[in-house]
């Protein structure tokens, strides 16, 4: 699957289906600080992501 990361903006290719929660865990990203969006729609932690998906992992923490 194509995984878009922000701050800084970058892209990863990750093979194999997995849940949102597992994807965040493998990337060392905590759930409270991120949302995952697939094709413009939010997806919860137990959603299964497939190889054909494009997902954005969006950080939600602001420093101001």
């Amino acid at each position: 699957m194509r995984v878009l990361l922000r701050n800084p903006r970058r892209e990863l290719q990750i093979d194999g289906a997995r849940t949102v929660r597992n994807l965040l865990g493998e990337l060392g990203l905590d759930r409270e600080s991120h949302l995952v969006i697939r094709n413009g729609t939010l997806v919860p932690g137990d959603e299964r992501l497939e190889d054909a998906d494009t997902v954005e992992i969006r950080p939600v923490i602001s420093g101001g």
Binding site: D30, E32, L35, L42, P44, D46, V60, S62, G63
Partner: protein, 316 residues
Amino acid sequence: MSKCRVCREPAVIDLPRHNANFCGEHLQQLCRRQVEKAIADHDMLRPGDRVLVAVSGGKDSLALWDLLRELGYDADGLYIGLGIGTYSTESGEYARAFASDRGLKLHEIDLRDAHGYDVPTAARATRRVPCSACGLSKRHLFDTAARDGGYDAVATGHNLDDEAAVLLGNTLRWDVEYLARQYPVLPAGEGFPRKVKPLVRLTERETAAWCIVRRIDYQVEECPMAAGNRHLGYKATLNEMEARSPGAKATFYLSFLERMAPQLAEHRASEVAALSACAHCGAPTTGEVCAFCRLVEVASAHEPVPVELLARSGRR
């Protein structure tokens, strides 16, 4: 697949602190109710109030503006151009697009055009962290704009994470003066509009989710001046606690409001009473000249400093 706690349709978000999942529609309902409760619990706003929303182009301020309009408040926006390179250019574009798409009134002030400086230059001129000059400038300009525009209140997008992080910092220092000031509504005083923080019961994950389900395009990029600041460190610490104990942030902050803030109320009142008018601009101040006028004098006399130069110097 997880289901919405309310309607059993597929969920779009899991919220461990509520031990529940929600679909887009019921996530919005939750957010609206949390904001209504914050407003009611702290008597922040009344029907008919004219509200000036501090708009940055980020998720919190745009969610706040959207929520206040949803709840029927007469809310206009004010965007301040801080001069932080392309970050500021883009943030202004998000704020303007949100307002024009919805037919809302957005006021704008550009720091350099109106006062002869920008945030990177102010930071260098004062030899202080950029967030200090930024916060001081915004507080003064929002207060002044609200007073001059006849608004009843200034609403800012501070969320539960922001307030919990500030509370952690203030508590670690046992800074009683700052703790006394940390309240989600500050009443109007002489020269001060009422200031309200209607998002204090929502985490920033929830305000971001509100924007996504409402199709609000906001600036995701972080301010280059804020990267690595102490506030972010406190947030990371609190989120580690939250992961182990969902609801810990809300308990920490909301219990402070319920149990500790009432004991600090007297301290807060005496501080307001000690203010006088700035000799230059008339704003309330504890000295002869207010901090903003002193900042303008120093920063506007300094040669402009590009944001890249400040970022390289490592000063945050």
